[in-house]
Assembly symmetry: C2
Homo-oligomer: 283 residues x 2
Amino acid sequence: MLLHSIKELREQRKEWKNLKVGLVPTMGALHEGHLSLIKKAKETCDKVVVSVFVNPIQFGPSEDYDKYPRTLDKDLELCNKEGVDIVFAPSPSEMYGEGNRLSNDTLTYVCPPFFYVNKLCGKTRVGHFDGVCTVVLKLFNIVQPDFAFFGQKDAQQVVIVRKMVKDLNVPIEIIQCPIVREESGLALSSRNKYLSEEGKKDALVLSKILNNIKSCYKKGVVDVAALKETAYSFLTDKHDLEYLEILNKDNLEEQKNADDNSIVLIACRVDGVRLIDNTYLKD
Amino acid sequence: MLLHSIKELREQRKEWKNLKVGLVPTMGALHEGHLSLIKKAKETCDKVVVSVFVNPIQFGPSEDYDKYPRTLDKDLELCNKEGVDIVFAPSPSEMYGEGNRLSNDTLTYVCPPFFYVNKLCGKTRVGHFDGVCTVVLKLFNIVQPDFAFFGQKDAQQVVIVRKMVKDLNVPIEIIQCPIVREESGLALSSRNKYLSEEGKKDALVLSKILNNIKSCYKKGVVDVAALKETAYSFLTDKHDLEYLEILNKDNLEEQKNADDNSIVLIACRVDGVRLIDNTYLKD
């Protein structure tokens, strides 16, 4: 069932009072990564809601909000195939009101802590995680799920959403699902659509760098600086590295020495497309 | 029943699944104003929770957090007399975690819009309404009430909480109750305890100024500047006026001419004690 209005969704939700409800929040352009979240939600819950909303307030002014792929018909088809109960696809004005300037002058925002935001993607995408937390909390309040499903691909996002849930006592359990990759190793992303064939090949360095760091770690290298150094042999002039960090996976604290609680995160622009990837050293 | 832990409260809440639950959030030091909220909650709901929590993050560094009156035994007695089902009195560490620095470096905050905050009490109490919205949303998520009751006395607070509820799609109805006054006209406040006998008399100017503005309005004066002018004849060197504003009651927009949607708000320091009061022009 496709719903566009908050009111309709709430009415439906009331009928599910005694059922376990799962929410998979997405921006659409669904791929196998999203489908893995949906499958997990179907396993865990009686009813599954997938939201499809390209959230304007998490895009910066120079980012790809207008260009971001919108494929609702195909998304619907995929959701139906997976047995999703509701696809919730509100308009921006349904979510933020008619004629509102989308800024903290006129709207209430949820602001995750500076310590979690001022690194990795948050450093270049100023305001991004305020926008993410705000829309996620809105969706939580609209759908009132028991469980919400997020992909490890956006690792900083999941850490920040978990932190929000804890700090604001949100009565929802967050379930994280592993990254889904192409056979080549490329992490699935809606933004992969922007890549040329050659770009797709160049994009493989992200997963290669992560795998190499992991194998060095498994061989006993723990010094973070040394582990990061290993990346440079993979990079060419096709790659514009934004960050490569090895941090504590739960609170994103810096580490001098990597350990089984470390996560390696990379962001790199390839072929003009900003890509991210990550891996846990323990896996 | 007195509960200190979030876990116990949530367990109790589960047993009320099919009942209408009301929350009256307070900082304790309960007076007749609070009791009017509790009475309204008892009328409206099957079960009533009163929270008693002096919220550190809504006090500025130079404000009266340590000095703020704490009278839990008396509060409990009053709540029992009113038939309150749960008094929820968490410690600061229960609410914000052990050893957390209470700042937006390390905690997720709810930030109401600048336009609503940058006036009236928000102008001098920097960060106050971020602290209020954050704790109110936490209490909402912990108690999951159907209704929450706030006093008109803190008029800017209610407007901002309503705005948060709307902006974040919080599934709770906010009910506002009128100001309760002493026979003298003085609006009840936990901070009245700080006043000397003479201070209490000097404090009457707040309600006198409001009443006079209202009676001028009823006689046909609508020019906001002229209405505000009428206040000065009441003020002496005992009064340190912080603000006197006439604004739209729903969105706190400035008005050139008062109308039936106007609210008059005053803050004044008397005897070293900061007091606030307000009235609707329509009443």
